[in-house]
């Protein structure tokens, strides 16, 4: 097993701390927070696609299920935010298990379409089941966020909470990446034929990975709902799944920093493009296309080549 890249983790930690001290403007702080939410989602997408070879075009649905389930259950049963978020995460994992069971037996474009279909159905349900979700106009009945008795409200305190959550996730992701588990998944992605021949139960492994990433994404969604104070189906539609796909690929599939870099670039992009907002979609698509054609390792791969890193890092 490889050594954990401590410099990388320390680097992330320093950036997170610096950001808190240097960015006073709440608007820019909120962008960083959104970036962190996206980074976690993109990293989960990366685990599915970049490590295991699963194209989950409905991944946004789990984000939405986490968000809606948490706030709905909290509002209907008077549960505190954190327990509600944990329940949402478990519910999403269960949904992923049920959906994944028939779906993960498929491959390639069939799998992509099936996950897409699932995501779309969830989206329609979010819109139509207005008596639970509030429909297209969204869900407003979101209480204040309390964690261990502390009330967390506003950009500054939420930043600290989300940054800690993000850092813990990154540490765990790094430990996963340097463990045999990441090789096992990459073996499956590289050749299902060979990995089956070496005793790996592909279906069971894929199902576990799918379930866990759904749970993490849903947890993220729950926190996002409380941070945002308002959620509507449009944040969890097919477009968001495609955004996650773009972040993961542009950042670099199969790497820890891929989701983070991809999310950072693509979350910040609209801010720099305020004047040419109309071209945002074309740029997105071009980033994705250029990365696929010219930079298969994404931005992370590019950085590794420039700094001359090798496999043992």
């Amino acid at each position: 097993m490889r050594k954990i890249n401590y410099p990388f983790l320390i680097f992330v930690l320093i950036i997170l701390i610096l950001a808190k001290f240097l960015i006073k403007n709440e608007y820019y702080l909120s962008i960083v927070i959104f970036g962190m939410f996206n980074a976690i989602n993109a990293s989960c997408f990366n685990i599915l696609l970049g490590y295991t070879g699963i194209i989950s075009l409905g991944q946004a649905a789990f984000y939405g299920i986490g968000a809606y389930f948490a706030v709905t259950v909290a509002a209907s049963f008077g549960i505190n935010p954190m327990p509600a978020i944990i329940l949402a995460s478990l519910f999403s994992a269960l949904a992923a298990f049920i959906v994944g069971y028939p779906t993960l037996k498929l491959h390639g474009h069939y799998l992509a379409m099936a996950t897409l279909g699932f995501g779309m159905i969830i989206y329609v349900l979010m819109n139509e089941m207005a008596f639970i979700t509030g429909g297209p106009s969204g869900f407003l009945d979101i209480s204040q966020f309390k964690f261990l008795g502390i009330s967390i409200y506003g950009e500054h305190s939420f930043y600290i909470f989300v940054a800690i959550m993000f850092f813990i996730f990154t540490v765990l992701f790094e430990m996963f990446d340097k463990s045999y588990l990441s090789y096992k998944l990459k073996f499956i992605k590289e050749s299902e034929f060979a990995s089956k021949s070496f005793g790996i139960n592909i279906f069971k492994t894929k199902l576990i990975v799918f379930t866990i990433t759904a749970g993490i994404t849903a947890f993220n969604g729950g926190v996002y709902a409380y941070y945002s104070g308002f959620i509507s189906p449009v944040s969890f539609n097919f477009n968001y799944s495609i955004e996650l796909l773009t972040m993961a690929i542009v950042g670099g599939l199969g790497t820890v920093s891929g989701g983070i870099i991809g999310a950072a670039v693509l979350t910040a992009l609209p801010e720099f493009m305020a004047s040419i907002e109309d071209y945002e979609m074309i740029l997105y698509g071009c980033f994705l296309a250029v990365t696929i054609i010219f930079l298969p390792g994404g931005l992370t791969g590019l950085i590794k080549r420039i700094t001359g890193k090798n496999a043992s890092d």
Partner: protein
């Protein structure tokens, strides 16, 4: 050790294998030869559990493994190599070797992520070192796989196949793409493995290789067994000669 009984399979309208029966005895080297398209790799894929809709039965150590899933076949102690290697290019040689063993040991994922089972991984390191030594690739242990020449990768693939201590090795054209020196080394390695009680069943085209190593030879043509015996028997078998060189009377 391995018994193939009346195995047949169709692909579309083509009979890829037709009533194939033979035994692979324990503790020696058996070679499967035959012209291209005779069905040799298909047979390997059937034995390792990848093809359904076949007729016939397969027994391993008297146990019926005809309908076993690939990971069950592996668990029984059947390990194999491939024509196209299937190594992960971005990993180092050492890490690719790991792949051969995780399907067998199934170490706890949680413990591994949290770095709690270092004793186990220490043992695995030792196994990796050993396998690299006997295949002669220790020198390049930490090098990235996509930097290595083909010969080294072939040895790596062999090492991966033996690290899980199999009972029988299915080798798919082990000598293909190797130069003469590498082939000599490979012969030495295979003899060494036989002494360690690993049975070898290989598909091969290189007749020199086969003549030096194989105790048993089975020849396949158009999905049928046309000869089964020692190399000396096969060499003079009319059917075999016709299969390879064509029928002069046809």
């Amino acid at each position: 050790m391995l018994q193939i009984k009346n195995v047949g399979i169709n692909f579309g309208g083509v009979k890829a294998l037709d009533n194939v029966s033979f035994d692979v005895p324990c503790g020696c080297i058996t070679a499967l030869i035959g012209p291209n398209g005779a069905g040799k790799t298909t047979l390997f894929n059937i034995i390792t559990g990848f093809l359904k809709n076949k007729t016939g039965k397969i027994f391993f150590e008297n146990e019926n493994i005809t309908n076993a899933q690939p990971y069950h076949v592996f668990a029984k102690g059947i390990s194999r190599t491939f024509q196209n290697l299937n190594l992960i290019s971005e990993l180092s040689l050492k890490e690719n070797l790991l792949l051969g063993i995780i399907g067998k040991d199934n170490p706890s994922a949680v413990k591994s992520i949290l770095r709690l089972n270092s004793k186990y991984w220490h043992r695995v390191e030792k196994k990796i070192d050993y396998c690299m030594e006997i295949t002669g690739i220790s020198e390049w242990r930490d090098r990235k796989t996509d930097e290595m020449p083909y010969g080294i990768l072939k040895y790596l693939e062999m090492a991966r196949a033996i690290i899980n201590e199999p009972k029988i090795l299915l080798l798919d054209e082990p000598a293909a793409g190797l130069n003469n020196v590498e082939k000599e080394n490979l012969m030495g390695l295979l003899s060494f493995l036989i002494n360690k009680n690993i049975t070898i069943f290989m598909v091969e085209h290189d007749m020199n290789f086969v003549s030096n190593l194989a105790d048993n030879v089975i020849c396949l043509n158009y999905g049928k067994v046309i000869a089964n015996g020692s190399y000396a028997d096969i060499r003079n078998n009319e059917e075999v000669i016709k299969a390879y060189l064509g029928d002069p009377d046809a």
